[in-house]
């Protein structure tokens, strides 16, 4: 079984690698994480919990790009 910390770490690194290149949405990320760890080791609930912690700790934030995305914290581009 993957631990919450492992799942958080995987999600964070993925979002970090996408920064400035690709917008990622929660359903896609969930599928990606489950594929990575395997269905027997990680459920949707685990991904939800890991995301909740990342957002509550402000390591990641929600964004919007034709639907809600998850991103690294940043100043809104439009605010400049």
């Amino acid at each position: 079984m993957a631990t919450v910390e492992e799942v958080k770490d995987y999600i964070f690194k993925k979002v970090e690698s996408y920064a400035g290149k690709k917008q990622v949405k929660v359903p896609q990320m969930t599928q990606d994480v489950i594929e990575h760890f395997g269905e027997d080791n990680c459920s949707k609930k685990d991904v939800k919990e890991a995301l909740r912690e990342l957002i509550d700790d402000e390591k990641l934030v929600y964004g919007y790009f034709g639907g809600t995305t998850i991103e690294l914290p940043h100043k809104e581009g439009s605010a400049n």
């Binding site: 929660v26 909740r52 929600y62 919007y64 034709g66 809600t68």
Partner: protein, 401 residues
Amino acid sequence: MSNTPLIDELVKGPWPSFIKDIKRTAEKNEMCKDLLNLLEMSYRDKKTHWKHGGIVGVRGYGGGIIGRYSDSPELYPGVSHFHTVRINQPAGWFYSTSALRYICDLWEKHGSGLTNLHGSTGDMVMLGTTTEHLEDIFTDLSEHGWDLGGSGSDMRTPSCCLGKSRCEFACIDTMAICHDLTNEWQDELHRPAFPYKFKIKIAGCPNDCVASIARSDCSIIGTWRDNIRQDDAAVAKYASGELVYGARADGKVDIKADVVDKCPTGCMSYEGGKLSIDNKNCNRCMHCINLMPQALRVGVDGGATILLGAKAPIVQGALLSSVLVPFIKMDPPYEEFKELIGRIWEFWDENGEARERIGEMIVRIGKGNFVEEVGCDPIPEMICEPRSNPYIFYEEYFEEE
């Protein structure tokens, strides 16, 4: 001369004008002065001067605030940020005057003072504030028992008609259902994780005063499965004109012409002063009950019809919702309904494309497939047109060979 001649045109004439409202608020709010100037510039240039803002938000929430920035902050600094805050409205939109006064005071303190009650989802919409004010607004609202509504790819704030609180037609307790579902699905409301938005609206009867059939991904519409309650003495009073129907000039109801002949399923008859209803062929359209509410009443075995798939035109054209479950009891704690929605979300999550509403997904994959996947029973009414492709082979056909 006014420095906003173009938008001043919108104040002329007998109609209500949003410009008039903004001008009145501008007398004591600087943001509104710049808002008028920015609007005038948009009318002059024939293009919007708002940029798409993305999400600004409060800690932990992915919805409820819609970022808005102008492209001319140096010209009109008062509206360089003009974010919208959605507040979760109370079920049935019941407010005390002190609650409304609190909201207005809050918005004069932290925002433009402009409000929009209510947005099409149902929320109270507070127009125009800046990023620095957001956490303070949220804290203040929370301390006073309010919460933000939904936005983005989440479950939007559920809304309902006033139901049993005031309406004799209500077959279900819409306000209790709305309140319960809002509390049950707090994560889905505040932490967007769906392919796109998902709206739930609850109407107490098929009159559908919340327009759920046109404006929600999931419509919960009150109905009944026993018989229409009929008071023959009151029917006679409508016939004689002693009881009147407000929509006709003379007040009288012509039972044959107005009621029976307009029954969409032809399941009523009126002979020798006796009104008869073949209840098993009644489709609960409410027409006869609306015309003679003192003679005909909804049945007592109430529940709801669940419909899926309405949306306004955004990525694709508009859709009306269509029936998924013809009748379901809606008594607390609404387990059967919640389990059904759980299965629907699960399937949409796995099969929905980005920015695809559930109604669009059902059209794409076919209602038959969807109904099977979410474990519902097919009914003849789900077929919208006869099959035109003869090259369909059923599994049984192959088994027989």
